[in-house]
């Protein structure tokens, strides 16, 4: 199954990096693009300032960011996250359930972490682009 949902991350030096582009393509046997992004940020003393997901390179899903030029006042006033994260979530049944990747549950997740300890998660279904948000 081709990954339809991919991350987009902006860094504190102004760079915006895309999963499956440039140095962040999947390479068989090498660290995942996300783990390589984290290494790159650490090695260059950079932090993530925003994170988003795309589905089929068309639809984009954004979380609150540290962006300095929001278009609406509500975005400027909103609480700012202190950290961001990305992961994939997969689940499958063993008995009486289809277990191959084509039918397993597969989501890409981004999260924004706040000083209060709260985390907003945005889950996007890899099969159809449907999205859900969670506060954990």
């Amino acid at each position: 199954m081709i990954k339809k949902v991919r991350w987009i991350a902006s860094l504190s030096n102004g760079q915006t990096l895309y999963e499956e582009r440039g140095n962040f393509k999947t390479i068989d046997g090498e660290l995942s693009p996300w783990l390589r992004l984290l290494s790159y940020a650490t090695e260059n003393n950079l932090s993530i300032t925003s994170i988003a997901l795309t589905f089929d390179e068309r639809t984009r899903y954004n979380l609150p960011s540290l962006g300095k030029s929001p278009k609406f006042h509500a975005f400027a006033q909103a609480a700012k996250p202190i950290a961001f994260n990305f992961f994939r979530k997969m689940g499958g049944d063993v008995i009486e359930g289809a277990i191959d990747q084509e039918t397993a549950d597969h989501f890409a997740v981004i999260e924004a972490q706040y000083e209060s300890g709260q985390i907003i998660q945005l889950w996007v279904d890899d099969t159809n682009g449907n999205a859900w948000t969670l506060m954990v």
């Binding site: 199954m1 081709i2 990954k3 999947t26 390479i27 068989d28 046997g29 090498e30 660290l31 995942s32 693009p33 996300w34 783990l35 990305f86 992961f87 994939r88 979530k89 997969m90 689940g91 499958g92 049944d93 063993v94 008995i95 009486e96 359930g97 289809a98 277990i99 191959d100 990747q101 039918t103 397993a104 549950d105 597969h106 997740v109």
Partner: protein, 182 residues
């Protein structure tokens, strides 16, 4: 491409395909019944055409005896003594890239609502190395699996055992694994 592969281990392993079922059965082998209140004496893979896919593979069986003990063919032993190869179920997760796994859980549910316990079945599970069985029914009571560092292939070895609470085929009974990777 990330992929799950579920395998019933044995002298040769039997991959549990998308339309197959993992069958907990009695001492009579494939399709034999388990007495109400007792635990499985054999484990098999049953195809959608009702064939015994694990026939000839000497499939492993794990039987719950008590909280910290089980029987996997050598009489009652401490659960801590079970080896990877003695666990009935192997779940492999693989990805083209090297990924780390966290927050992996494994549990039984009714096949439709992940928080609901299976109907008419008591289910026990343990990851290799655990000292006690987990009554892993419903996602809130799931067996927690060990985090694994970055690799392209990850194996989980899990002992599984089930007991019917009433007479009859148990169809509202599914096993599920969930994990986080990045």
């Amino acid at each position: 491409m990330a992929t799950f592969t579920f395998t019933l281990q044995g002298s040769s392993d039997t991959v549990i395909g998308a339309t197959d079922r993992l069958q907990f059965a009695g001492a009579g082998g494939f399709d034999s019944k388990v007495t109400v209140g007792a635990y499985n004496d054999s484990t098999h893979v049953k195809s959608s055409g009702n064939a015994d896919d694990s026939s000839g593979n000497t499939p492993r069986n794990n039987k719950f005896v008590a909280s910290g003990t089980g029987d996997w063919g050598d009489g009652t032993e401490s659960l801590t003594a079970i080896l990877d190869a003695e666990c009935a179920l192997k779940i492999n997760f693989s990805d083209a890239a090297s990924v780390a796994i966290t927050d992996a859980i494994f549990y039984a549910y009714d096949g439709s609502t992940t928080t609901a316990v299976p109907t008419g079945v008591t289910f026990q599970a343990a990851e290799q190395g655990d000292s006690a069985w987990t009554n892993a029914e419903g996602s809130a009571a799931a067996l927690t699996l060990t985090d694994q560092g970055a690799a392209t292939s990850h194996d989980y070895f899990i002992a599984v055992s089930a007991s019917p609470e009433s007479v009859g085929l148990k169809s509202a009974f599914a096993l599920r694994v969930e994990l986080t990777y990045s």
